[in-house]
């Protein structure tokens, strides 16, 4: 006797089993899997049990940022570089100092932090977001002008999305140099900046 590979179950029982299996499958799918995996919540159970949070969470981890293009670098090309940028470098730079600065960026807002530097002055910098949040940033400088126009010229040194960056910066002209940080999230982000070099703080 070879086979006893199946149960002896009545036709009615089998149909019942299939129906139950189908119901369980559909029920679990609609109440839990659909909200958690696809972010759709037809019965409101995803919200009720918190399954929907899984979907949002997973999605926010995707680094799906807008691609940065050449036109995003610096001020619009219509604004010409001020002549003051061509001034010679001073004989003496600012004294070497160091600072640690905390900048808080409100949700969905942008904030600038800049320091004064003379032409060819050099500063080491590092910045990072406190909880590794990724922000949009534009590291740039503005030429010091006697009569600045309404829309000032600025030069972008780095435009990027990051949670941390470091380097040495040598100012190409006298003026204000620093970062524009944009918070892309719904929560406040704290940025810590550390500087060491030939610069002066405002205020």
């Amino acid at each position: 006797m070879e086979k006893n590979n199946q149960l002896i179950v009545s036709k009615k029982q089998i149909l019942k089993s299939v129906s139950i299996a189908f119901l369980i499958g559909v029920l679990v799918f609609v109440t839990a899997v659909l909200p958690a995996e696809y972010g759709k919540d037809p019965l409101g159970t995803g919200k009720l049990f918190g399954f929907s949070n899984l979907y949002i969470k997973e999605n926010s981890f995707q680094l799906n940022f807008k691609k940065i293009e050449l036109k995003d670098v610096g001020s619009p090309s219509a604004i010409v570089k001020p002549l003051e940028a061509n001034n010679p470098a001073p004989e003496k730079q600012f004294d070497l100092i160091q600072d640690s600065i905390i900048v808080k960026i409100p949700a969905k807002k942008g904030i600038e932090y800049k320091v004064k530097m003379l032409k060819y002055g050099s500063t080491k910098y590092v910045w990072y977001s406190q909880n590794n949040e990724i922000v949009f940033l534009d590291f740039h400088g503005e030429v010091e002008e006697k009569n600045p126009p309404k829309e000032v010229f600025y030069e972008s040194y780095t435009v990027a999305y990051s949670n941390n960056m470091a380097g040495t910066f040598t100012a190409p002209f006298k003026g204000k140099h620093g970062w524009y940080f944009k918070n892309l999230s719904d929560k406040e982000i704290t940025i810590i900046i550390k500087l060491k070099g030939q610069y002066q703080l405002f205020n």
């Binding site: 199946q6 149960l7 299996a21 559909v26 679990v28 899997v33 659909l34 995996e37």
Partner: protein
């Protein structure tokens, strides 16, 4: 003693469940490796193949269904050989011929294979349709689809063509090793369970749950297909 078995079963079940949280596809670290890899890397591909099989619950559910009523070692060996033959063929062929099959549809067919096996174990074909399809051929055919599933998973990463064949063999061998390990674990559990009266008592429920899991996966994959 009785309690011990139950505990053992529960523990193993928890292990399987916790592993399956990672579930399907390939995790981020593996993905980084696959994309960055250049040339021959037999060992890593072997590992990825084995890991994919052990953490791929749909393959495992199908295999549980297949061996559910197989008591003899020889029978188990024959059925698993058919399955292995099927999925090896399409895995190698799919990747080498660069066949692009929609992953959601393939996974939906794999989900259907789980429903089929649960239904078959309940004796549904004989009772309702009066005729049961040849189970060995069915395992072979679904093996072919499972292999396409594995192939599409690998093809999602446009990895280096250099050393492709060797890497593919490594991956395939890894799949067999993973299947062997997972199956070994399942067989040990079944061996314990079959000695109890509860096996026959619960086999109806178990196969119904198997079908339920199949329906769930089917809905999951089809929704994925229509949304993307």
């Amino acid at each position: 003693m009785k309690l011990n078995h139950k505990k053992y079963f529960l523990f193993t079940l928890l292990c399987i469940l916790s592993v399956s949280i990672y579930a399907h596809g390939v995790d981020a670290a593996t993905q980084a490796f696959l994309v960055g890899n250049k040339g021959i890397a037999f060992g890593p591909f072997l590992y990825i193949g084995a890991k994919h099989m052990i953490t791929g619950y749909d393959h495992l559910l199908f295999l549980v269904g297949v061996i559910f009523f197989l008591y003899k070692k020889k029978e188990i060996l024959i059925y698993i050989s058919f399955f292995t033959l099927g999925h090896s063929a399409t895995l190698l062929f799919g990747v080498l011929a660069d066949l692009q099959v929609n992953a959601y549809l393939i996974d939906a067919i794999i989900a259907a294979s789980i429903i089929y096996k649960g239904f078959d174990n309940l004796g549904g074909f004989k009772q309702i349709f009066g005729k049961q399809p040849n189970t060995k051929i069915a395992v072979l055919i679904f093996g072919l689809f499972h292999g396409f599933g594995l192939a599409t998973k690998l093809q999602e990463f446009k990895f280096d063509q250099e050393g492709l064949f060797v890497n593919l063999l490594g991956f395939n061998l890894g799949v067999e090793i993973g299947q062997f390990l997972a199956l070994g674990l399942v067989l040990i559990l079944f061996d314990f369970w079959r000695r109890h009266k509860s096996f026959i008592k619960f086999s109806k429920i178990t196969n119904t749950l198997l079908m339920a899991a199949g329906f769930l996966l089917l809905a999951f994959q089809l929704t994925g297909y229509f949304l993307n």
